[in-house]
Symmetry: C2
Amino acid sequence: DEGLIERRIDGGEVFRGNWIRVQRDRIRLPDGKEATREFVRHPGACVIIPELRPGVLLFERQFRYPVGQVFIELPAGKIDPEEDLLDCARRELLEETGYTAGVWEHLGCMHNCIGYSDERIEIFLARDMKPGQQQLDDGEFVELFEMSLKDAAAAVLDGRITDAKTITCLFWLQQKLG
Amino acid sequence: DEGLIERRIDGGEVFRGNWIRVQRDRIRLPDGKEATREFVRHPGACVIIPELRPGVLLFERQFRYPVGQVFIELPAGKIDPEEDLLDCARRELLEETGYTAGVWEHLGCMHNCIGYSDERIEIFLARDMKPGQQQLDDGEFVELFEMSLKDAAAAVLDGRITDAKTITCLFWLQQKLG
Ligand SMILES: Nc1ncnc2c1ncn2[C@@H]1O[C@H](COP(=O)(O)OP(=O)(O)OC[C@H]2O[C@@H](O)[C@H](O)[C@@H]2O)[C@@H](O)[C@H]1O
Ligand SMILES: Nc1ncnc2c1ncn2[C@@H]1O[C@H](COP(=O)(O)OP(=O)(O)OC[C@H]2O[C@@H](O)[C@H](O)[C@@H]2O)[C@@H](O)[C@H]1O
């Protein structure tokens, strides 16, 4: 990989908003030249594949202001400082859906925005689901509905599901179920 | 969807870097309260699934500074101002791999970072591939290699492929090939 690696010279935070932080670094390219790289600093997130029954998943409908449309997504949320990954997944599932899961499995990790963010999203499969009371944050609006993995795959092909983290989870589940 | 939609009150650009622009808007939540939303403004991108032979794809290895590691990815790049989507896909495939394709198919679109970016990525399948000379931009370093769809699926499961746009493309191709 030596011929590909970019090395940091110096740099630091150039923007700190309420929600987004941007870092700019001066770097050394593989050919020795200099360049700059800008990217969002993100604490990482967890996404949960909540399997209600064999082959049937719990989805959310949520408005995403940056894109300006309602998305079909799996439950997900940012990792709190110092928070354990599984604790984050449990917390987000409970807050957004009200469900608790008896069986948890960590499947893997994805990077959703490698061009300009350091975000990683850890993928969890939740089974043996017990319903309860949604505990949405103030200002959070989420509708829940069930859909089979099969129907979800069809919803990708006809453009109803375009969220890359959700499609990545569907890929994982399809591989796992064979 | 009325109960989910957030409406813009006002706002605008709060950061303009060399590579990243951030917008902050004041918004009206579905319950009438106010909140702010910050997000990256992105021109959109195209990603190409280059099928060299039935079931065999052309991949790239590229260092991604924000995450600090080499990624296995499919060819992709930003859409230039006013550029037609297919022209963008052709251009990126040629620049990054040297290949031209006789058959192009637009499969669909994904959103990779709906929490804090308006980026969308248009997905193209390229077939009937003819090799040629890579035309990398100054400062761009990309290694090419072939891998079957089957091996790529295995590489997702063992963590070698974590790029969400690439996994989303693998999902699309798997569905298409049945
Ligand atoms: N974070 C960055 N900061 C500054 N310059 C950058 C950065 N990222 C890339 N560049 C510059 O842009 C060039 C690559 O441009 P494109 O091929 O148009 O775009 P790319 O970064 O490959 O992104 C294509 C797609 O991949 C996705 O993961 C990304 O979100 C985008 O959708 C690089 O060689 C480099 O010079
Ligand atoms: N762009 C934004 N600007 C300001 N506040 C925001 C923004 N996006 C979300 N919020 C606030 O954060 C709350 C949601 O926080 P989380 O559930 O922790 O995170 P979420 O935005 O759902 O992201 C989870 C994951 O989805 C991915 O697409 C995203 O990249 C992240 O990986 C929202 O109710 C809202 O109050």
